[in-house]
Symmetry: C5
Subunit: 376 residues, 5 copies
């Protein structure tokens, strides 16, 4: 072990200027901070989202269920196999602690590195003795249209599940309701089912975000004519970015779950494959919906460009109609404004009336011509 | 079993504001309502399309055929293997009932969940003892151009087929005509052939919808010059959406039928593979047609944008011709409208006539120039 | 057998309004007419292209060659294996006859259905005892640029080939010339070689159509500047459609021939695989050419749009030059057309000349400015 | 054999109007001339590029090297295995001769057909006893930017290589320099190495053409602002076509060399696979470069369209500025050009000066407004 | 061996005009210089980046660590297997020296050719006795936005690693810090781990470049409204090129590392596969980010084009408003500037005032109309 690999960074929660939807968010924010370090160097990449890393331990089996909050990691013993155990690690920035967990549970440093790097793409790793999955939760904070993401990592071992999360999100609350029901599959089926149940919970959550995107696309399409141009093209780009962001979080999951299904890992009861197949199914569906939304969004851009072009046409038509009618008339009246001494028409009794007749005739002809061209 | 998993929702048929072709329709409407629930939670997702769930039972073999409408599910016995049985479940919103069926026939909750979720993508599931297929019917209600879709699910078991449908659509009527013919393959070949016949019926129905889309594209192309711009770009986007919707309903079927052909499931007579191969063939053909239509639709958009640009050109040309001719003339007549005391031309006998000659010469030269540039 | 499956339709040759290149042509015209019918229902889909179905029988071997036109199908006997036999069925609309052939030769109804459905995509079916291939001929009638297509189906059995064609096209004529040569491979190699020779003939014919498309694209590109905008965008879309149509007819053939090569069917002499490999090669080449043409066509569209934009620029420049020069001058002469009692300039001896000098100076400056901006 | 299959065409060198870069060049020029002929019909497709077909024979081994030009094919004997032999056939249009070669060396007519058809796509054919490769040389004649291509075919047999080329290109000259060196691998390694060396020579030549294309793209991008619009869009399309042409010539080679590597053909020493792997590598690299260039070319098109749009903007701005300033002023001076008897302003002492002040004020305000909008 | 294959070129460091981001840079600069040479000809392709080729030798094991700079290659002995050896070759242009290394270590000339050709795409070659990897470092010189790339090649042999680099880049410095730590994995794990550590270092470096690209895209998007059009479209093309360049350097690495993982090469300890898997992971992530950036860049182009179009609209609107208001008014005042003798209105007491009332009414109506159309 290389002690000097431990870089304790980002320990204090800082006021981070919330990055807006941007290329750097879509890239891997902060990953470059690692370059030059040895592989498996533990460094927390991402924002520090909470004050202090917390450990919660849930012990359960068919007969009993107990949740202990804020346990002291040093005192934990995992030898007792009479209960299933779920250790929740909430907060990722205390690297020394994370490293202790790794040592105690026999996790490789490269794996801890993946847990700490919140820019990690969803991936599954199976090795003898454990299954590792890292994935993203997607959520929108109250009233905000901005899609946030937290990284959840899980290590499944024999009768033990350790979950790592960046912050104290409430998304696991529905699980606890089910835990309280002694007949619930959660209580009966062991940690591999819990592993699945968490994955399922997170994936189902994606539907909310995707639905909001769908509504935002619908809203944009419905209100296209009334919105200012600038806003429309910004919203189109925003939708495009959000769809890219969601796709990036969901797409690799398909492959990850597939490889779990194919791995026949001894820690996963083959009877539960059906459940993971269901997750697979949902992910596939979401991927299709996202692709569909991307096409719709492009379609809206087309409509928008065509509408811009149309309005331009309208503006030009008005100018052309006015110009075409009045420019020649102005010429005519200009003619009789000339001061030549010999201009016979000026002396005619009906000269003035005649000019008016000529001019009205011209206007009528032009209006007819415009109507024929469907400009009016 | 978790009884509290049963969420009885949407029990009363409600006046649903018909959603128009929209992103949310193309997504999975209402799927997010499930998030946070345990897997296999039975909840009906979709509109309630009829009053009461109904059961129809068809019993048939080479000798006899009987259809019993509105049977009482509780009294049904499936032990008698002397006839083939087709149980039609019409209406999906009575979750308690659906769950009873599941228990009686040994269907897993996740499978029932797929049956109830009308946003499910077409999929095939083979397990020892049954084959499960869920797919979409596509239809257009009288005179409407809106494409509606109902979800049909089928469970094939030994000498038994259970079909689930959202509403009492008439699409199965042709089957009954054939059932009445004792020499019909339907009567002779058992439930796997019935399973196929229903699939074939539904797939053949797609051709109608696709043909209507083809006609709508043709109509759009033929009438492009006479339609208002706004309508054209809306129709193009509409076609795009409809094609996406149809593609989404049909595309996954290819894979589903393929996996049935490869599964060598004991419930499907290998001699009938030829029939499923035929369905596969039709689906492939439709997928190709849809891709072709999508290209045509893009082509129309190109024509349309070019036509917009062309019209703009025309408008500008008119303004330019008028402006180019009359603006210089107006200047000339302006010159002789000046009130300088010493302006010799004003006193010339042929001054006025001379100005006219100059102006007519200018007009002629300009017209010639325009003709040379092919503007006239 | 279900006798009522036989739907005798389209028996009378009707004056069909020739459909123009359209989405419905690119789709599967009339396929929806079948929906609701049992699988394997024999119904002719397509135009009736000739009066009466005709049977021609060619019997040949190394020693002899005989062609009998208009044979009576009922009297045909296929037992004699001393000669190779080629039965040509010309015309598809007499369903009862087609069904009789099917019965006599042991062809499945689904296969007959494919023969009758002229919207069928090219496909190969190998079963013990026969090889079935359906494909399209493409041709352009004299002087017409419209690409027509006829469907040819072939069933290869032991020493027997049956071909089905919609109309009495002359494309097989070159074969007869070769048949007359006793040293020709056609005479020596049996029906699998004939099967190949027909396929080769049809595929070689595609090159003509593709070359015409190439010339049409070249012609369009060369004459782009002189054509009216409307025509150009229509030709581009036309080319696009024709390329789609040709691609649709040719593309699936690649897979079909490939699967023949892989099937090692006992009816095909392995020494003849080389010939089918050659067909495969040609199909690949055509597919590449078509893709290339599609790109060229898009390139022409780009040039065209840019030319439109360029012309617009030119039009606007003319207006701007004229406007920029004369609008200020008109203002100046307007100033001295005012009737104020006190306007000292009007009384100056060189006032009028001065105004002219000012105006000429302005014009010169503007012309220089335009030249600098490269507008002139 | 079918003697009548021999079609002696194109025997006289004709003045061919050099086809310019065109769809027909990108297609398979003249291929349709063959349709209706039996397979394996020998017909020369392409331009006749030289007067008379010539045979050169190179005999070499570690000890000796001899080149005989203009040998008489009839007298050639290939039995002596003490030397390696390279027979160069220069010129393809003497079909009778080519056929004789085929007979003497046991080559199938379909293979000769591929040699004669200069529109053949690159392909490799391995059969017991020989390896056949046909590919394209690409070159640009002095000072010309037009990319020409010649077809080179090679048949590798035991200790014998026959190469077929359309014209007497100098591209093989570097080989002869190496042949003169007795320590050269060419002399030591046999005909499979020669086979490789020719392929390598041809492939390395591609880099020149690709580099010229790269320079042409760079040149276009650098000079974009100074070129006339018409020329730019033509150059973009030209680059697109050239890239398509080069891609079409190179791309299939990847597959061809791959299949040679996989074939383990006894005529190719496994120790030389490394060399073919190197060719494979180069082809891959070129394919990547071509794809990159295609993207760059599209990027230039975008810049160009945006520049067009920008210039349009500029033109319109000038007109708008001039119009906006002078049209209102012209109106004002028009007002005081009216001849009403009662117009009090006309009599005011400072009327004229006042009008000027009003007008100058308007001009100043407008200029400020334009500056605010960043139009000036 | 062919001595004359050695072409000593580029020996003197020359002042190379730094090529800007260009097609030739994205292609394979200078590769054509080789055409016509025999395969395996050693010629240095690329810029000469340093004065003299230098050799550094690092010898290390768990107990000791020694770095010798500027060793004399001739005196090197690799027989002693008690230490791991890392030979760094810094500078590539001394071909004779490179050839000597090749001979001493038994490397094939084709492999040396790849080392010398700095346009080589990343590739891995495994052969009995060694593993060869060539890849690119990407870096941006201080303050420059231009992405430079150097080629690093490595040959892994038993207890020996030879690295080849174009110039004396500092990127390996972090390794030396780790070497100084006797507990470092670098010291304990042998040359295959060093091989990995170098690869990892280089790949991690990519993140910096990618992040800078992300920032450049963000910066462009944020400042879009304030930048001149020309600059925007140039920046978009620049980003496109940079992304292409980076992609080209990174993409093939995925395949290379994959094939290393699959090769089970005896020189790579299977326990270290986990590390290469980690590199694979990072490469995958970068490829995804690059694709995302490419999409964002296209999105910015769309916004930009739409903004151009919008500004055009604005310009035209101003002209149209001014024109539409004043052109008719100018006509009216023109009417009363006519000099007809009989024009009754001129004599009316309230004629002048009346004209003003009419004109103001027209202006008001027009303004209302504009407001209704949302032009104001």
């Amino acid at each position: 072990m290389e002690r000097n690999d431990l870089v304790v960074a980002d320990m204090k929660p800082t006021k981070v200027k919330k990055t807006k939807r941007s290329a750097t968010r879509l890239g891997k924010e902060g990953s470059s901070r690692k370059s030059g370090m040895p592989p498996g160097s533990l460094i927390h990449i991402g924002q520090v989202k909470m004050q202090k890393v917390r450990f919660d331990l849930i012990e359960y089996n068919a007969e009993s269920f107990a949740e202990k909050k804020n346990v002291d990691f040093e005192e934990l013993v995992f030898d007792d196999k009479s209960t299933f155990k779920w250790l929740r690690v909430i907060g990722l920035h205390d690297i020394a602690l994370i490293e202790k967990i790794g040592k105690k549970l026999g996790l490789h440093n490269l794996l801890l590195e993946d847990i700490l790097n919140t820019g990690q793409r969803p991936k599954l790793d199976t090795e003898p003795g454990f299954v590792f999955l890292t994935l993203k939760t997607l959520y929108q904070e109250n009233g905000s249209s901005e899609i946030s993401s937290d990284q959840i990592s899980m290590v499944l071992q024999d009768r033990l599940l350790i979950s790592f999360q960046e912050s104290d999100l409430a998304i696991f609350d529905p699980l606890f309701e089910r835990f309280n029901n002694p007949m619930s599959r959660l209580r009966l089926f062991g940690t591999d089912y819990l592993f699945y149940a968490i994955t399922d919970l997170i994936v189902d959550e994606y539907f909310k975000v995707i639905e909001n995107l769908g509504e935002s696309i619908d809203h944009l399409e419905d209100n296209l004519p009334d919105m200012p141009d600038k806003q429309v093209s910004e919203l189109i780009q925003q939708n495009r970015k959000d769809l890219l962001f969601v796709k990036k979080s969901i797409f690799p999951l398909r492959e990850a779950v597939m490889s779990l299904l194919k791995s026949d890992h001894p820690l996963v009861d083959p009877n539960h494959n059906r459940y993971f197949g269901d997750v697979q199914d949902h992910v596939m569906q979401m991927v299709e919906i996202i692709e569909t939304y991307r096409e719709l969004n492009s379609g809206i851009r087309d409509i928008f460009l065509s509408a811009q072009s149309y309005r331009m046409n309208q503006v030009m038509k008005v100018l052309t109609i006015i110009g075409t009618i009045f420019i020649p008339l102005t010429f005519i009246v200009g003619v009789y404004g000339m001061n030549f001494e010999i201009m016979p028409e000026l002396k005619w009794t009906y000269g003035y009336a005649g000019v008016w007749i000529v001019m009205i005739t011209i206007v009528v002809i032009m209006l007819l011509m415009f109507r024929k061209r469907k400009w009016l």
